[in-house]
């Protein structure tokens, strides 16, 4: 019952928790800094095709050095769409990469994998990629799939093609995937097209995002930039990112690292927009501090979360969907460190409102992939999503009447108000344990790590994604066979 017919005026609500690292003015400073770097310092680009496109587009090209007038870069930021709708393999809309919508998933390109059955750290196989797809397919908080390591039991130059085959046949969820070169990209696009009935269908309802990574600072090989051109030509969404570590390939200051990250992303966005105005680009990528003891990117450091959140603020300022990083660790085993770093980064990335958050499987500084970590992260994401839902404040939730009805010393368990709300207000754990000590002991004193391992094995053994028709499977196999034949003939030519 409302108190009266009153209407509340000038009432501002935090519909979700509010978090930001950089103010609007600071975002502008980072963006303007990147424009200055692009105009004054410019970039090294080693692709004849890209150089020609930049020259025609109005850049100052001097050998392989390209300098970008600010107006051109600003035009590209304006024409790149601020929203990308992703579909699943069945053509249903599944991710709206826009605003501050948050989606989580695993990462790729690790060179080792932690076997969820033997506990052994070993080289990834094609079967591991299939398992990665199965595990992500089964977990409700994983919104897309990546490959969990380039398989090493296939033709080395076609690891990307084989990985895609293993993924697309084992999940209906959207896929983010990398490739060695344009030929492989074509193979992957052909396989994806086969699933949905042709390239134009895939363009209309993309379930594939192509991924390309440049070599910062400000250096773009033909392998990197040509893939951005390819995606724009094919009218498919593309993630174009550098992998930034502060103090190594970027200044040691956080602000300076963001400037390099933004500048390097813009080089791909400009190329894409010059090829096809309005083509879909996503910026971001792993950005962290360099661990000075091992000279590699720290995946569990707080700086990864801080930089990623700062970059998400800038991406939002620019109106470009953001590809962020979380759920990863530097730990070598499933232990408390892994859990702490995963939880910390998943929380901060979620709060930052980044659209695609990846690497929910990478440990050992990104060297090793673990499906157990994916399963653990799924639970943590559930917790974080509850936090992100925030607190609703109105007469009904304030419950003043219920408090009065129960009165001091009573309890709320049987109140209708409680019955109606507790299921939605509370997050329900599946792996987190809240049993009492004696019961916990009775059932074997298991750590969360042990429960995670059991669930991972169960998913791999039990879960199967909706299958593709035999006809489509054959078409996909034909693409793989074609690729194998091409690589064999290239090899024999050498």
């Amino acid at each position: 019952m409302p108190k009266s017919q009153y209407v509340r005026a000038s009432f501002e609500t935090c519909a979700t928790p509010q978090f930001r690292v950089l103010s609007q003015d600071q975002c502008e400073s980072i963006f303007l800094g990147a424009l200055e770097v692009l105009q004054h310092t410019g970039a090294e680009v080693n692709s004849p095709e890209a150089l020609e496109i930049y020259r025609k587009g109005g850049c100052r090209v001097d050998g392989t050095r390209v300098r970008f007038p600010s107006h051109l870069v600003e035009w590209a930021v304006r024409t790149a769409p601020s929203r990308i709708t992703m579909y699943d393999r069945n053509g249903n809309r599944s991710m709206y990469l826009e605003g501050q919508n948050v989606y989580y998933g695993p990462g790729s390109a690790n060179t080792f994998t932690l076997d969820p059955f033997t506990g052994e750290r070993r080289r990834p196989l094609k079967q591991d990629t299939a398992r990665a797809a199965i595990v992500s397919d089964a977990l409700s908080n994983m919104d897309y799939v990546e490959d969990n390591g380039a398989p090493m039991d296939v033709t080395p130059t076609l690891a990307d093609v084989h990985a895609f085959q293993a993924m697309v046949t084992n999940t209906t969820k959207p896929i983010i995937h990398w490739g060695f070169g344009i030929n492989q990209y074509q193979d992957i696009v052909d396989m994806a097209s086969a699933c949905v009935g042709g390239l134009s269908e895939l363009q209309k309802r993309p379930f594939l995002i192509l991924y390309s990574e440049s070599s910062p600072p400000l250096r773009h090989s033909s392998e990197a930039i040509d893939k951005a051109l390819f995606a724009a030509k094919k009218d498919l969404p593309c993630i174009y990112t550098p992998c930034i570590f502060s103090g190594g390939v970027a200044p040691a200051t956080m602000a300076g690292s963001l400037v390099v990250a933004v500048a390097d992303a813009l080089i791909g966005i400009v190329a894409g927009q010059l090829v096809r105005e309005g083509s879909s680009f996503i910026m971001g990528g792993p950005i962290s501090t360099m661990d000075m003891s091992s000279s590699s990117l720290a995946y569990g450091a707080p700086e990864l979360s801080l930089l990623s959140a700062g970059l998400s603020n800038v991406a939002r300022y620019m109106g470009i969907p953001m590809f962020s990083t979380a759920g990863c660790s530097d730990s070598k085993v499933i232990d408390t460190q892994l859990a702490i770093e995963a939880a910390f980064s998943i929380l901060v990335a979620g709060l930052s409102g980044a659209n695609l958050i990846h690497d929910c499987n990478l440990m050992d500084k990104g060297v090793t992939g673990s499906l157990e970590l994916t399963v653990l992260d799924d639970e943590i994401i559930g917790m974080v999503k509850r936090i992100l839902r925030g607190i609703e404040v109105n007469d009904d939730t304030l419950a003043v009447d219920v408090i009065d009805h129960v009165s001091p010393g009573g309890h709320f368990l049987g109140e209708e108000h409680t019955i109606e709300r507790f299921r939605d207000e509370f997050w329900w754990p599946t792996l987190i344990s809240r049993v009492r000590y004696d019961e916990w002991k009775l059932y074997g004193s298991k750590t969360l790590g042990q429960r995670v391992k059991e669930k991972t094995q169960e998913i791999i053994n039990e879960h199967r994604a909706e299958p593709l028709s035999q006809k489509i499977l054959d078409q996909i196999q034909a693409v793989v066979d074609r690729a194998e034949a091409r690589e064999a003939s290239l090899k024999s030519k050498k």
């Binding site: 010393g409 309890h411 368990l413 049987g414 109140e415 409680t418 019955i419 507790f422 299921r423 009492r436 000590y437 004696d438 019961e439």
Partner: protein, 210 residues
């Protein structure tokens, strides 16, 4: 034979008004009063107990189901004509002196009631002589003592000692619970059992009375 499945379902769903309505219908339809309780109301509550254990139902729903069952039993009771309402046993329960915390104790009472026990909830801040007087008055088979604080848990021992002095210790089982309690403490003070949570308390009472 009267079909009680709708009545049981209403208990499971915790729909008090529907339980009352169906109980009245059963009475009007000439169903045996004891059968209404056993095959309708308690049968429904047994399902609730099982579902709670397996994690399909949760505390607030158990409470509402128990409450709706109680409403039905209250309607049938006057018709029993001297027959007892079926019960798993009578349990006295209270929080010991110095302690006002009672949500845990209330949960135990709730779970025992839904498990078919006849529960007398004595309240909070109870000195040993209050427990002893209540044992004399209600003649329970089990008495449950609750404490949240390490200082007040010592009162549990005093209660047991006083029961011995009064010659009542053999007539009643003593169970204890609360955050600082452990199995070790329970045997140290000579209690008959310790339940770490409300659901276990029900099992413990069943075991002690078997």
């Amino acid at each position: 034979m009267y079909n009680f499945s709708d009545l049981s379902k209403a208990v499971i769903a915790g729909q008090e008004s529907k339980v009352k309505e169906l109980t009245q219908a059963a009475i009007n339809g000439g169903a045996e009063p004891l059968a209404i309780i056993n095959e309708g109301l308690i049968a429904g509550m047994n399902v609730v107990g099982a579902r709670f254990k397996s994690g399909e139902m949760f505390v607030p729903e158990v409470l509402v189901a128990a409450r709706s069952m109680g409403a039905g039993v209250a309607m049938v009771k006057p018709l029993l004509l001297g027959q007892e309402v079926p019960s798993s046993g009578k349990v006295l329960i209270g929080t010991v002196k110095g302690d006002l915390h009672d949500i845990g104790k209330n949960l135990v009472a709730l779970m025992l009631e839904s498990g078919g026990f006849d529960v007398v909830n004595l309240g909070i801040d109870l000195a040993p002589d209050k427990f002893v007087a209540a044992v004399k008055e209600y003649q329970p088979q089990v008495i449950g003592l609750s404490a949240l604080l390490t200082t007040t848990m010592l009162v549990m021992k005093d209660v047991i000692e006083l029961l011995k002095e009064e010659g009542l210790r053999d007539r009643v089982k003593v169970i204890i619970g609360g955050a600082p309690i452990s199995y070790d403490f329970s045997s140290e003070i000579g209690a008959d059992g310790f339940a770490p949570d409300a659901a276990t308390a029900v099992d413990l009472c069943r075991k002690l009375l078997a």
